[in-house]
């Protein structure tokens, strides 16, 4: 094996590629050869750290992060740092907060000091297209341990003991889900990884699939062993090209060395995984709609019960887990349920990946143990609101999520605490809106989204959404009476109580919460005919 003096990790997730990561790579290679450093400096493609600026280069030893916005800066960087050993301060990652935060310390100290990376443990560190790098980071060790030393019952009881809960939004205990499927008599059984990530503002699953695809495959194999399944499907959104490619590469590599297929690791356990591609439908993220879609039908949700654990895909017992949930499994097996329970708080164990977005200084993907408050997430990890403005509203959990107003910023983000204030943490998207944003404009936009994605199966959602949108349009065109707000509330309540699936209910929630927290803004629009944010045009 060749020994290099410097290792340069280049972020090549789809965000970085759009920012020009491949051009950066070409230029780096050219310059390295020009300076005769090709035997000293190694460039490695990795996923993204979750920093949303430019193309990131992390240089080891040291772990300094450079953010490249212009390939023309590369010759200077190569000469100064790679050749002469002088770090280039002006190209280092910095956060554009009121007091400029310069990241001149190694990544482990600066960015990761407030975060705990369990789910994202390999993302940004390993080459997602090389199984050897995953294996070098203890990859497939958990699977080997499970297959050689544990019975399926022991695996399930370990996952149950860890209190791992589903990260797709509902928070259902994962071990319990597995147990139900394991006990179901019908055969064959299936494992599905729900990678139909469509919640606006959420892309944690994409970051995992693009940065550490093998962790999902390994976890699915462990789940399959635990419940007695031999076939798994990863249902990925049709738009996630790079995720699809990297998962397919990972599956191919695992098959080649016998980590998927028949008689895995010399045992009599067989397991195979296939990637299935969606065709553009938000509601397919709902687990039963996803199964309909996998069966080649319209992606309309089924009525429950029966639940997928006993009657899922092709009416067979099915475990369906979110990408982020699955990514936890190998470490729980390797380090044990007791270790895992040491993270997070009572009722919400482990860590959660959040995507921090909107009017915040340091946008990005972060992972922290359950129990952090929004204040800590926004003002410490996110370095506060852009331009020093005041916070108006946080939308937690994407478009189907909940409104959190400034008075609730100190509530810890865990299942129970969030539930107590009538909210849900949903997918983990944190969209921050500052005081200059118009709630009515925001709501209109949300409802337009739900209206577009409504599958049309049930009346309250299909008919209610256009009605509500019409009302909102009349609010912003000044053509509405104040008491119609009461009608809007009533309409939303009917939708919430009678919609067939979570989509209509979530849409109604957005209306109710807007009215609950920002009624004065509605009244203001109607009475004065003026939008303080100047968003709604001339009223």
């Amino acid at each position: 094996m060749k020994i290099y003096r410097l290792h340069v990790l280049l972020s090549t997730d789809s965000r970085s590629i759009l920012r020009g990561a491949l051009e950066v790579e070409t230029k780096l290679k050219e310059e390295i050869i020009k300076k005769g450093l090709e035997n000293e400096v190694q460039i490695l493609r990795t996923g993204g750290w979750g920093i949303e600026e430019g193309v990131q280069l992390t240089v080891y030893p040291g772990g300094l992060i450079y953010v490249i916005n212009n390939v023309e800066d590369i010759p200077y960087l190569v000469e100064e740092h790679f050749l002469k050993g002088r770090p280039v301060k002006k190209l280092m990652y910095e956060i554009d907060a009121p007091a400029k935060v310069e990241m001149t310390a190694p990544i482990e100290e600066e960015i990761m000091k407030k975060q705990t990376r369990i789910i994202l443990r390999n993302v940004g560190l390993i080459n997602p297209e090389d199984i050897k790098e995953y294996i070098a980071h203890d990859g497939y060790q958990a699977l080997a341990q499970v297959l050689s030393t544990m019975t399926p019952e022991q695996v399930i009881s370990e996952i149950k003991a860890s209190e791992l809960s589903g990260r797709g939004g509902a928070g259902f205990p994962t071990g319990f889900k597995w147990e139900l499927t394991a006990k179901a008599p019908a055969k064959p059984k299936y494992i599905i990884c729900n990678a139909d990530e469509g919640e606006p503002g959420t892309f944690k699953d994409r970051v995992i699939m693009e940065g550490d695809p093998h962790s999902i495959i390994e976890s699915m194999a462990i789940a399959a062993y635990a419940v007695g399944a031999n076939k798994g499907f990863i249902y990925v959104r049709g738009e996630y090209d790079l995720s699809i490619d990297r998962l397919n590469i990972a599956i191919k590599q695992s098959k080649e060395i016998g980590l998927l297929g028949n008689n895995i690791l010399g045992t009599n356990f067989d397991f195979d995984v296939e990637v299935r591609i969606g065709a553009g439908s938000y509601v397919c993220g709902e687990e039963t709609a996803l199964m309909e879609s996998l069966e080649g039908k319209r992606g309309e949700p089924r009525s429950k019960p029966p639940y997928p654990s006993t009657e899922g895909l092709w009416a067979k017992p099915t475990v369906i887990n979110n990408v982020e949930t699955l990514a936890n499994i190998p470490l729980i097996i390797l380090k044990g349920a007791e270790w895992y329970k040491g993270l997070g708080v009572e009722g919400s164990r482990g860590t959660k990946v959040f995507t921090l977005f909107g009017d915040v200084n340091a946008k990005g993907v972060i992972e922290v143990p359950f129990g952090f408050t929004l204040k800590e997430l926004i003002y410490e990890i996110g370095y506060g609101i852009k331009g020093g403005k005041n916070l108006k509203l946080v939308q937690l959990g994407g478009s189907s999520g909940s409104f959190i107003t400034p008075e609730h910023l100190d509530v810890p983000i865990d299942w129970n605490s969030v539930r107590k204030i009538g909210a849900g943490q949903g997918s983990g998207a944190i969209l921050v809106l500052d005081e200059t944003r118009c709630v009515i404009d925001f709501l209109k936009n949300l409802l337009a989204f739900f209206n577009h994605e409504s599958c049309g199966k049930c009346v309250p959602c299909r008919v209610g959404l256009p009605k509500a949108l019409d009302l909102l349009n009349r609010v912003t065109s000044g053509n509405v009476e104040i008491d119609e707000l009461g009608f809007m509330e009533e309409l939303a309540n009917v939708m919430k109580n009678t919609s067939f699936c979570g989509l209509g209910q979530a849409a109604a929630n957005q209306i109710l919460e807007s009215l609950k927290y920002f009624k004065s803004e509605f009244i203001n629009h109607i009475e004065t005919g003026y939008c303080p944010a100047n968003k709604c045009g001339r009223l």
């Binding site: 994409r206 738009e239 065709a279 080649g296 995507t355 969209l431 944003r437 936009n445 989204f449």
Partner: protein
């Protein structure tokens, strides 16, 4: 209507047992104007013994499939909240003015169709839009003509 090629895809579908959505994706990519015409769905129905009604129900459900002919190039502008907070409104307006097009429509010369795109998870690059399979980041109205011109045929 590319009868032979469609027939070949159906044959492969039968042999490999690939999913129906994949077959429909493949057929749509093959047909000029990016859509699934009725006669093609009928052919699939006959050969696979799936009722036309259930094929129609599937094909009409997903936003990536179209039953109507679409333009040679499909412009998709992301309409999710992070992009709407940026340039979405002005992009739709500018495209509308430049190509005389609103959402869901196709230009008279059959070059472009304008659609809304659901969140691509590239929120730090908002506003995001796609033309066919190419993704454009941080799009502003001033860049729009240049982007669209690369797709206009000489």
């Amino acid at each position: 209507m590319k009868n032979e090629e469609v027939g070949q895809l159906i044959k492969e579908y039968k042999e490999t047992g690939e999913p129906l959505l994949t077959l429909l994706h493949k057929i749509q990519n093959l047909i000029p104007h990016n859509h699934l015409p009725a006669e093609v769905l009928k052919k699939v129905s006959r050969e696979l013994k799936i009722p036309v009604s259930s094929l129609y129900s599937t094909a009409s459900f997903y936003s990536m499939f179209s039953l109507k002919p679409r333009g040679k190039h499909i412009i998709r502008v992301c309409s999710s909240p992070p992009c709407k907070l940026e340039e979405y409104d002005s992009l739709i307006e500018a495209i509308g003015e430049k190509l005389n097009l609103s959402i869901g429509e196709t230009t008279c010369d059959g070059q472009f169709t304008l659609e809304e795109q659901s969140c691509l998870g590239l929120c730090s690059l908002a506003s995001v839009m796609m033309v066919d399979n190419d993704i454009y980041k941080n799009v502003t109205v001033t860049q729009l003509p240049e982007i669209l011109d690369t797709y206009v045929e000489e």
